[in-house]
């Protein structure tokens, strides 16, 4: 049972998840020597932090038993608005306010999601899907209509690929800080209790005189802001923002959170698990891309597109890992 005691006694599922990480690294290092190099691990942690920051918000949403499918284009929105801020706010404001502006746009999108889910009582799974389409529409309009500037500001670049502490990429620092805040929020704060409670029985929450709808809106807003922040960092990393930059993040985000032991129906899950899930997914994707699996099969005379093996192995590994620790109780 994942509740406020999460950190006190770590759930075995999370431990197994971390075990899987070690296992993956082991396999990787056997297959390819360069694998356990510090360079590679740091590299993985850096890319993991982008996913981690995005997943942080979505995880809160899933704890409430909701889901946020709007992240792909909210990510893009965050990035493109931050880089385009100059064009929109003018040079004097645009330069310094680029990052806050980008994040605020995401926050706004999240806010609309929240209102739709909490006050219009629309199912989050589809309302956020609609929001995703709207965000996409806005971004296409933005690029198509205004030939916007898409270069990241120096600050964004620094945040995304600089090193405040030697050898520790800044995104990782940001993720650590954000993670710390969220862990505190989930375990020590009133909001955290209310999030878990809503995920368990919103009806009881309402009758306990807690305005669950405000909490819902707030959490969706946080999710939007996290996604946008991820977008800002991503465009800082590529030193550019671009259309569809968020598309590769939807499914990995959900997979990471669920692999981390968060219950899709809400009410149960720990941030520690999400961290594990994020690292798992990142490693898995990277290993599958680096380890050229097709070569092995080619030796066996099976000549097929590389992606065949990447996809199949990806799917199988997820199933196996979930079998190890992600099983639900039998109904009795």
């Amino acid at each position: 049972m994942m509740t406020s005691k999460t950190l006190a006694k770590i759930d075995p599922a999370v431990l197994i998840a971390f075990g899987c990480i070690v296992l993956l690294l082991g396999i990787g290092s056997i297959a390819k020597p360069g694998f356990l190099s510090a360079a590679y691990l740091v590299q993985q942690l850096q890319t993991a932090s982008f996913l981690g920051i995005i997943a942080s918000g979505v995880m809160l949403v899933m704890l409430m038993g909701q889901i946020d499918l709007s992240i792909p284009w909210v990510i893009a929105m965050g990035g493109m608005m931050a880089t385009g801020a100059e064009g929109i706010l003018g040079h004097t404001l645009g330069q310094p306010l680029a990052i806050p502006f980008g994040i605020c746009c995401g926050l706004l999108a999240g806010l609309v999601n929240g209102v739709g889910v909490a006050y219009l009582r629309a199912p989050s799974m589809i309302f956020t899907l609609g929001m995703n389409a709207v965000a996409q529409g806005l971004m296409v309009w933005h690029t198509g209509g205004f030939a916007p500037q898409d270069a990241a500001t120096p600050l964004m670049v620094a945040l995304a690929s600089g090193h405040l502490i030697p050898d520790v990429p800044n995104p990782l620092l940001i993720w650590i800080v954000l993670g710390g805040v969220i862990v505190w929020m989930l375990t020590r704060s009133r909001l955290g209790r209310q999030i878990y409670a809503i995920g368990n029985k919103e009806r009881a929450v309402f009758l306990s005189g807690v305005d669950s709808r405000k909490v819902t809106v707030l959490v969706f807003a946080i999710s939007g802001a996290c996604a946008a922040a991820g977008g800002v960092l991503l465009s800082g990393w590529a030193s550019r923002s671009y259309q569809a930059m968020g598309d590769p993040y939807l499914l990995p985000t959900i997979a990471a959170i669920v692999l981390g032991g968060t219950n899709v129906l809400g009410g149960r899950g720990s941030y520690l698990g999400t961290i594990a899930g994020v690292i798992l997914i990142t490693l898995l994707q990277s290993i599958l891309s680096v380890l050229q699996p097709q070569d092995y099969f080619a030796q066996l005379g099976v000549k097929l597109p590389d992606d065949v093996f990447r996809q199949v192995v990806f799917g199988l590994v997820i199933i196996v890992m979930m079998m190890l620790y992600g099983r639900e109780r039998v109904i009795r």
Binding site: A133, G137, F206, L304, D307, G315
Partner: protein, 338 residues
């Protein structure tokens, strides 16, 4: 003891319309939205509602409709199937390889495709039921696998299908599109019998309350297995129709995911509850047509290309929010927190 001798027995009640409407409200709303949209489309269409226009629209809509029907079943059990899109695509790739040649071979090919679909669904079901994984992650994983297989079957777009069969599936006779007939058949021959069988009802039971269903002696495993397997079949039907429309097969991840996500939207617009236990595949069909008609509106209202995605998004959000009108009737706030 037989009930017949019971003194307290009175003559049985008739089914009352009130409850029928309550049960069908989701479907009816979807039908209404669709009717309005399609009327607008027809009116704005320069050449009016010619048989060709209708046929084109139905062919397009039928694909998503079938995938949405597939999505409906797992959703009714309180689950979700993120692999319907990829199953749909796998069937498409497979069909482009095996559904050709003599009528006999073609028929055999069709059977192969449908069986493949059933298998995909069955695998999902087995993982969910006996692997006891949350459907969302289980099907997320299998969708990756099915895409991989589809890619293996069809590394590059192409392939072919029995032309006569394909034409016959996509033509419209006496202004009745064959694809519409296919949908009707899927409903009358598969959905309705299933829904009115003990097995079909048991998926509603499971979705409504797993514990209660178990305590009532409902076979939960069989219910879920049947739901996911049948979903595979519907998705494969869709893939088959797609092959008839495109005369080819293609494995493109974006396409599969597009269909998966849209199918969920269609199911919801069709009035099925994502918590399970309430809804119908028929609603999903209209939900799908609503989704697709939005695209048609783009064409008839000459909308600025860079504004088109925004238009689609806004209409979708609007359609979703329509459901909130029911809030106006609510007097007891507890009804909000089911």
């Amino acid at each position: 003891m037989t009930v017949a001798q019971d003194p307290a027995m009175k003559r049985p009640k008739r089914g009352s319309w009130r409850y029928w409407f309550a049960a069908q409200r989701g479907v009816l709303v979807a039908v209404a939205i669709f009717a309005v949209m399609f009327a607008v489309y027809g009116a704005a269409q320069p050449i009016g509602m010619s048989a060709d226009v209708v046929n084109t629209a139905v062919n397009k809509g039928a694909l998503l409709a079938l995938v949405a029907m597939a999505q409906t079943l797992p959703v009714l059990t309180g689950g979700l199937d993120l692999s319907v899109g990829m199953t749909f695509m796998l069937a498409n790739c497979l069909a482009s390889a095996v559904v050709s040649g003599s009528p006999g071979m073609t028929a055999l090919g069709i059977v192969i495709v449908l069986v493949a679909g059933l298998l995909c669904g069955l695998v999902n079901g087995l993982i969910v039921v006996y692997g006891r994984l949350q459907p969302l992650i289980a099907t997320l994983a299998t969708s990756a696998i099915y895409f991989g297989i589809a890619l293996a079957v069809r590394p590059t777009p192409g392939g072919d299908i029995n032309g006569a069969f394909a034409d016959w599936m996509t033509r419209s006779t006496y202004a009745v599109p064959s694809s519409a007939v296919l949908l009707l058949a899927a409903v009358v021959l598969v959905w309705l019998p299933y829904r009115n069988s003990v097995l079909g009802r048991s998926i509603y039971a499971v979705g409504s309350s797993p514990q209660a269903a178990y305590a009532s002696g409902v076979n939960i495993a069989r219910a879920k297995l049947s739901a996911y397997t049948l979903a595979g079949l519907f998705a494969a039907l869709g893939g088959l129709l797609l092959t008839c429309i495109t005369y080819s097969g293609e494995a493109r991840a974006a396409l599969g995911n597009d269909y998966t996500l849209n199918s969920i939207a269609a199911v919801v617009i069709g009035g099925t509850s994502l918590f399970g236990g309430f809804g119908s595949a028929i609603g999903s069909i209209f939900g799908a047509f609503v989704m697709r008609t939005v695209g048609d509106l783009l064409i008839v209202f000459n909308i600025n290309p860079v504004l088109q995605p925004l238009f689609v998004g806004v209409v979708l959000l609007f359609a979703v929010s329509l459901g909130s009108l029911r809030l106006l009737r609510i007097r007891n706030k507890l009804d909000l927190y089911r």
